[in-house]
Amino acid sequence: MVLLGQAVVSGILLGGMYALIAMGMTLVMGVMKIINLAHGALVMVGMYATYICFQQWGIDPYLGMFVAMPLLFLLGCLIQRFMINRLLHVESILPENQVLLTVGVMLVLTELVRLVFRSDYRSVATAYSGKTFFLGGVSVNVPMAVGFLIAMGFTYALHLFLTRTDLGRSIRATAQDREAALYMGVNAPRVTVITFGLGAALAAAGGSLLLPLFYLWPDIGHLFTAKSFIITILGGMGSMPGALLGGLALGVAESLGATYISMGYKDVVGLVIFLLVLLFLPGGLKSLLARR
């Protein structure tokens, strides 16, 4: 019973951080109608930014993320403004060439980082890295708990931004009906740029929160692209509450898989869920919520 509780708790904590990353992908998915396959690479770049802050200037990762986020926001804006938006006007055989472009961006970012930092495994060792505390018999890893709380804080802030501000509402409006948003006077091209920047900043935030928990190397991005993709599908594409639930669900599923099957199979559990959802619940968790 304690083992189960342990697995569920650490799954939820980890899942909250996954969810933050997946919300970034979901935002872009909603507005641009494409899966951004460079999303994990953006997580990775954000992690390196936070890592450098720690390594060079001794800035704690939880503060370093506030350096990484604006940096990644800018990088995201530039990618959207000068690369993806340019492709919108190109007529070609494949309408999804923006997705292919994001694959290119992913490769370039990954290899650029490899060029500078090599493929070496890196990690940050903070004073709290190995610390745990007990919560009714269940041991909780401190960086996991802190990361989860910060991730939920960001989630709430994002929710307020999307529902209470004109810019946030314009993002949702553009996602729901781009033409109607234009009729209302929403500067849709600008909204796409800001959305992609925001998605990248969320990737950086999630990555930084996971930095004390994961080894860092240039290819770690693929892992996060896969996880965010699974969560986005699981949640129902473009749904923010779905992404949150999906993130938590994936975290718990992985944790249960690692506990009861084998540590080595924990990623398989996520992929199996992914297939099952596609086969039996193609609308994701969102469709379950809507059925109520």
Binding site: T163, A180, A181, L182, Y183, G185
Partner: protein
């Protein structure tokens, strides 16, 4: 009367398909102009050229004396053009209130948002009752009211109404036309696109008839109601 909207000989198309051929029309301040025609005649295309979603290949569109050729679509709401699109095009997963707020994003409309929303609620009391409901959960008639209300939120100088009666029960159709003529009598300038020719001609001051992308007839509502071609082709008399 001042010229509000002036369309001068525009050709508009999608890709290789040309839809409008040398279309000219004008709307003066305070007028209620109808643009009539069958399905596929190019009515919606004309409105989309005015709101900037489509660019004319030839010809000009001026609004209050300003050439719109270089004005992107998202700046036209700010100038005073409100487009109530065909099929309502609400933001289905946003509340009624949020939809209305989306109508007032710029300048004066944004500053007077609360005030304008009260005015919209007084025209459509149902929307006040449903303000926290998701737009997608409204009935067809309520959705049309919301679409018009959202258009009014920008405090427009010109209201473009695209097929507001489409898909509504006869009683609601009459209500929509009544709202339109009420807005007109309060001084709103309206360009209405309709397939419901009889109703439209009864409420409008002037009308144009589009056939296969060309303006074939124009005149006052009464003139066109008496026109033999209109009677035969559109009124079935």
């Amino acid at each position: 009367m001042r010229h509000m909207l002036n369309i001068g000989g525009i050709d508009v198309g999608y890709g290789d398909v040309q839809v409008l051929w040398d279309v000219s029309l004008e709307v003066r301040e305070g007028e209620f102009v109808a643009l009539l025609g069958a399905n596929g005649a190019g009515k919606t295309t004309t409105l989309n050229a005015v709101s900037g979603l489509l660019r004319p290949r030839k010809g000009t569109i001026t609004f209050l004396g300003q050439d719109l050729a270089r004005t992107p679509a998202y700046r036209r709401a700010e100038l005073g053009i409100a487009h109530v699109p065909e099929g309502r095009r609400l933001f289905p997963e946003m509340s009624v209130r949020e939809n209305l707020e989306m109508g007032a994003l710029h300048g004066e409309a944004r500053r007077k948002r609360r005030e304008t929303m009260e005015e919209v609620f007084s025209i459509f009391p149902r929307l006040r009752e449903r303000q926290h409901q998701l737009a997608g959960s409204l009935s067809g008639g309520e959705q049309q009211m919301l679409a018009i209300g959202r258009g009014l939120m920008s405090r427009p100088k010109l209201l473009l109404l695209d097929e507001p009666s489409l898909g509504l029960a006869p009683m609601l159709v009459a209500q929509v036309f009544q709202v339109a003529s009420e807005l007109h009598s309060r001084g709103m300038t309206i360009l209405l696109v309709e397939q419901n020719v009889r109703h439209a001609l009864e409420v409008c001051s002037r009308a144009y008839v589009l056939e296969n992308g060309r303006i074939v007839l124009q005149g006052t509502g009464t003139e066109l109601l008496a026109n033999p071609h209109v009677r035969e082709a559109y009124l079935g008399i």
